[in-house]
Amino acid sequence: MLFYLIGGWIFTFKFSLEDAVKELRPQLCYQCMKCSSGCTAAKVVNNYRPHEIVALVKAGYSDELINSDVIWACSVCLKCVEYCPQRVSPFEVVMALRNESIARGRVPPKSFVEMAKSVLKVGHIQEPMYIMSKDFEEVSRMELGLPEMPKPKDFEKFKQHVLLVGFEKLKEVIRV
């Protein structure tokens, strides 16, 4: 739940899974399998089936998904968004499930944690790296003559806001 103060009014945004998913109307899905037929991730990740995820949400088995890692397999290619004949958009359903899983204090796969940590540390998903060139030379931005990577100026404020818009729960879990 989030509070915003706008012109003296307090607005409350509740992000419960039910609300998020209702908007996406998974109940309209008639299981045409188009999403699973074209899904990038489904072809390489064995148990990732967008139509099945929508069906499970529709049938009320969201908890199963929230507690499993499979929802983090989506490749964000947006093909299901584009071609779903009922505008259900399995991608958005998966994102809502991911959000809910974070809200319930579950830890996402390690790489996501790393990225989130980095956002809270430098404002980006990772810090500038040393890159190995073809000649086995390690180069950095500076050595290539590139200007320094910009960071949020008022970092404390930025971090505070990031936590406010949804990283709060994650912070407790990953203990930054």
Partner: protein
């Protein structure tokens, strides 16, 4: 034409070749790039963690551009989509707009919807134009078949205005032909490179990239080009890994940024274009191009 260069995370932290070639080529075509002092991540990979973080992050980026009175070039497909989506959704939803601005106010920023966002493909094709490019190049590159990989987010979703559509010829293909190369279609060019599966399962992601490379090789392409740091990261940087995982030693194709090819046509040195940072066998292509 002056734009604020919003690099995003991938380009700025490891895909230095893209940044170098952008900074080298665009000014030659009359585009001035301003380097921002203050920037943050656009939030694409964080969408799963919080629905609202990308709105805040993108609104912050747009507000920063607005405070400088500039439009943004976002060279990353993901950033470009997320920024466009945020602009679109904030304009539709005044409540969201005011909520986001309430946060920005504390940082002395405000987004009103004035600043716009462009992808390099739009800048090159729509703003600069094919004609200007053909007249500016120093030498035409030989007619080598090259496949373009526009990347998912450049064409999808059609819900928001996207730079490319799969209905007609791609702008990227026209740009390839503009510098003398031959655009070669391959069946999976509208597919995903698999970058976003990387955090979940690197193996699955690399397999996906390997599929694409194999298809491009099958139609006889001599190189793959794109304007997305994620796509090139997968198609260029992961070729060795793909060989190991799939056991197919034939996976080897030069993969590089279109701006790097453009730079060659504009007579720039390969070093300036950061081509030594490409992991794929670009030297094979370079040799053919130089002849």
């Amino acid at each position: 034409m002056k734009f604020l260069l919003y690099l995003g995370c991938t380009t700025a932290t490891k895909q230095y070749g893209y940044e170098l070639s952008l900074r080298a080529t665009l000014p030659l075509l009359g585009v001035e790039l301003e380097h921002p002092k203050d920037m943050n991540c656009c939030g694409v990979p964080m969408k799963g963690i919080s629905k609202f973080y990308p709105y805040y992050a993108c609104a912050r980026i747009m507000a920063l551009a607005e405070s400088q009175g500039l439009d943004i070039i976002a060279p990353c497909n993901g950033c470009h989509l997320n920024l466009t989506e945020t602009i679109y959704k904030l304009k539709l939803n005044p409540l969201l707009m005011s909520a986001v601005n309430e946060l920005l106010k504390e940082e002395g920023l405000k987004y009103t919807g004035k600043a716009m966002v462009y992808h390099p493909v739009e800048i090159l094709h729509d703003k600069i134009g094919i004609e200007k490019i053909t007249s500016s190049i120093k030498r035409k590159l030989p007619e080598i078949p090259v496949s373009s990989h526009p990347g998912c987010h450049l064409i999808r979703p059609t819900e928001f205005p996207r730079p490319e559509t799969r209905d007609g010829p791609l702008k990227l293909d026209r740009l390839i032909e503009a510098i003398g190369l031959k655009a070669r279609d391959y069946p999976e060019k509208y597919e995903c490179c698999g970058a976003a599966i990387l955090p979940y399962s690197p193996e699955a992601a690399i397999k996906t990239a390997a599929f694409r490379i194999k298809r491009a090789l099958a139609v006889g392409s001599k190189a793959i080009t794109s304007l997305c740091p994620y796509c090139i990261d997968m198609l260029d940087g992961k070729q060795d890994a793909a060989k190991t995982i799939t056991g197919d030693q034939n996976i080897s194709i030069p993969a590089l940024y279109y701006t790097q090819l453009l730079g060659l046509a504009l007579g720039l040195d390969e070093k300036e274009l950061g081509m030594s940072l490409n992991m794929s066998p670009v030297e094979v292509l370079l040799e053919e191009v130089k002849v």
